[in-house]
Symmetry: C2
Subunit: 355 residues, 2 copies
DNA sequence: TTATTATGGGTAAACGCTTACAATTATGCT
DNA sequence: AGCATAATTGTAAGCGTTTACCCATAATAA
């Protein structure tokens, strides 16, 4: 937009009438069509009129009404984002990535929280489609066939972030991180440190979310490197501190032989697990090593600091937004694909090498 | 909204035409005015027609177009929110509070990040007013006279969250927490534990943000309880771990007599400061006590766990949204007031009593 | 019965923009 | 110069709602 000093009139609140394209047209002594044209630079307008119009726009500080524009163009430059919990740093960072590219590309973002509840997810989907969004970024808990069916009903592109469809098909474009591979890499890393007995505190038992993928990766790693997985080495939790603590207790109490390393599927669970180990008088990492998941702010500041796998949520948000916006703007619906964001093992004090 | 099983036609994407009020009117064999009336329950419509219309709405799964509606009513049920950084848990939680009441009251929220940059704040203000929002929640870095002037220019209510105006007037409604009092209370709490030498690591030197208010509260407390404040007891930082670490170093190196307690103006700085103290071989809390600020997720999981003051950001967000929406809906502009959210001292392991 | 008033429902005019089409003017070519 | 054609600009028809205004009908009162 051009730089200009418009006349700043101070009106008492509420008494101001928005300046419309008509006012600008009058001021510039042209038709409203011409004003519209210079704004959208569609057809050529003679330089002379272009100048007059731009001057008028500046002088009157004219801003086109997005509602009127959207009503006719059927485009709003707005995208909807559904996340479970914006206060969860993971989604905070993801959202930040999304915001950053949307802001750069002139898109407005509407953020909705689903609290991870299926019912709310559905009602938000409804609500957002009323809002006339141009596209949707969806970070759901369990993206099953029914949900995808519904999302495909809308007339705007939908992109899944963070999670893939849980039923083994790809009907929607997806940007995610490879939970399976990340867990595998954690196992591999621990193996490279000489660990042979590795236990896991995974996500909720019957869900199709990240926890399960991570568990799969763990199992694949254990198999690959020829390690035993006693029953007691697999625990489930809800990603909370408490779940980590009690998960570790059960491992401690029920293992015939204590593992030398624990993989927790969230940093918070790792911290909880470490706490239990400490309470039992184990020294970390000498007697037992710990790894978390996500590389949240927490992990840097525990004692010992927590080894983990960094998921680049910011970049994930960025890529998701970019991909969606591309989809919106050139509208071609190619074969839906899953794009993975690379992750990285972060080595900190909580992992020691064993002989 | 009524519950009903509408006929779910599956259309290939893009080929679907939204159903309009006109379609509904035809289906119900009434005029579009009547349809509009039953939706907005303005004038009474006979029960018979009401029924017919509702049936038609359900059957066709009609959703009124918010753009068209907004264009004519000049209300969008949308509010704008400006925060510096959504990935900062403080703002994450604040936003969650805002979202929760907005969702309940049927408002859509548009979130914008300013990165704490003045320039971006201004351009967001512009952009949001284009978006035809009904109200604005603003969490700015330094809310000075000029900024407030600009915000008053808009024709929708604006409410400040988190911060008061920095020039000692109240021209805008505000929901905030009492940083000054909270810091004072920290001092009081430490005094009650027998501490007599208390240092502070405050916010950036020349700013008008929370850090400064907290410093004021600290100074007031120190005076109230008759304690000396040597020059070296006041340090500034940018709320980061690093700033805490180096702030503590300077206190350690430059104090004639080491303080027995440190108040850091963020949990993260407190953690950094604790780290330095540990590195110098001091035991926490026996030799030196620490307090943070905010009660972020971090504070619970450090060793020792961090005493701090809990700011109820979620409730702050809730109250802010509620207040703003009230302002929007009954439009009366009473005298702008500042509402404070109560805070609470959280005692954890990082503070010991001295004899 | 007829005049008077409620009351429900339809018509059409906004709201502020984009854009197809028509009208006008300028340009290029014999 | 005279015509075809291209480049500009204006006119007006929507986009999908809400709502002021008017008309028809039913209800009430005299």
């Amino acid at each position: 937009m051009l730089q200009c000093a418009h006349e700043e009139k101070v009106f008492p609140r509420g008494e101001r009438m928005a300046v419309t394209i008509e006012d600008v047209a009058r001021e510039a002594r042209v038709s409203i069509a011409t004003v519209s044209r210079v704004m959208n630079s569609s057809k050529t307008v003679s330089p002379k009129l272009q100048q007059r119009v731009n001057d008028a726009i500046c002088k009157m500080n004219f801003r086109p009404n997005v509602l009127a524009r959207g009503l006719i163009t059927k485009r709003t430059s707005t995208i909807g984002v559904v996340v479970s919990d914006i206060a969860n740093p993971v989604f905070g960072v993801l959202t930040k990535g999304i915001n950053s590219v949307c802001q750069a590309k002139g898109y407005t973002v509407i953020i909705c929280e689903s609290d991870g509840k299926r019912k709310k997810e559905l009602s938000l989907l409804e609500k957002l489609s009323e809002q006339k969004i141009d596209g949707l970024l969806f970070a759901g808990v369990d993206v099953d066939r029914d949900l995808v069916d519904r999302m495909l009903l809308h007339d705007y592109p939908v992109l899944l972030v963070t999670q893939e469809e849980s039923y083994g098909e790809t009907r929607l474009n997806t940007v995610a991180h490879d939970n399976r591979q990340a867990a595998f890499d954690e196992v591999e890393f621990l193996v490279s440190c000489g660990h042979k007995r590795i236990a896991i505190i995974s996500g909720p038992e019957n869900d199709y979310s990240s926890g399960t993928r991570r568990l799969e990766g763990y199992l694949a790693g254990m198999e690959q490197f020829g390690m035993e997985v006693p029953h007691a080495y697999i625990r489930h939790g809800d990603f909370s501190f408490k779940a980590g603590y009690s998960g570790m207790r059960r491992i401690y109490e029920e293992s015939a032989q204590l593992p030398t390393a624990i993989i927790a599927c969230s940093d918070l669970m790792a911290i909880g697990a470490m706490q239990y180990a400490r309470d039992m008088g184990l020294t970390i990492p000498e007697q037992i090593s710990f790894m978390g998941f996500d590389d949240s702010a927490l992990s840097r500041y525990t004692t010992p600091s927590l080894s983990t796998v960094r998921i680049a949520y910011f970049e994930e948000g960025e890529l998701a937004a970019k991909t969606l916006i591309n989809g919106i703007e050139d509208g071609l619906c190619d074969q839906p694909t899953v794009r993975y964001i690379p992750h990285m093992i972060i080595r900190r004090g909580s992992v020691a090498c064993v002989e």
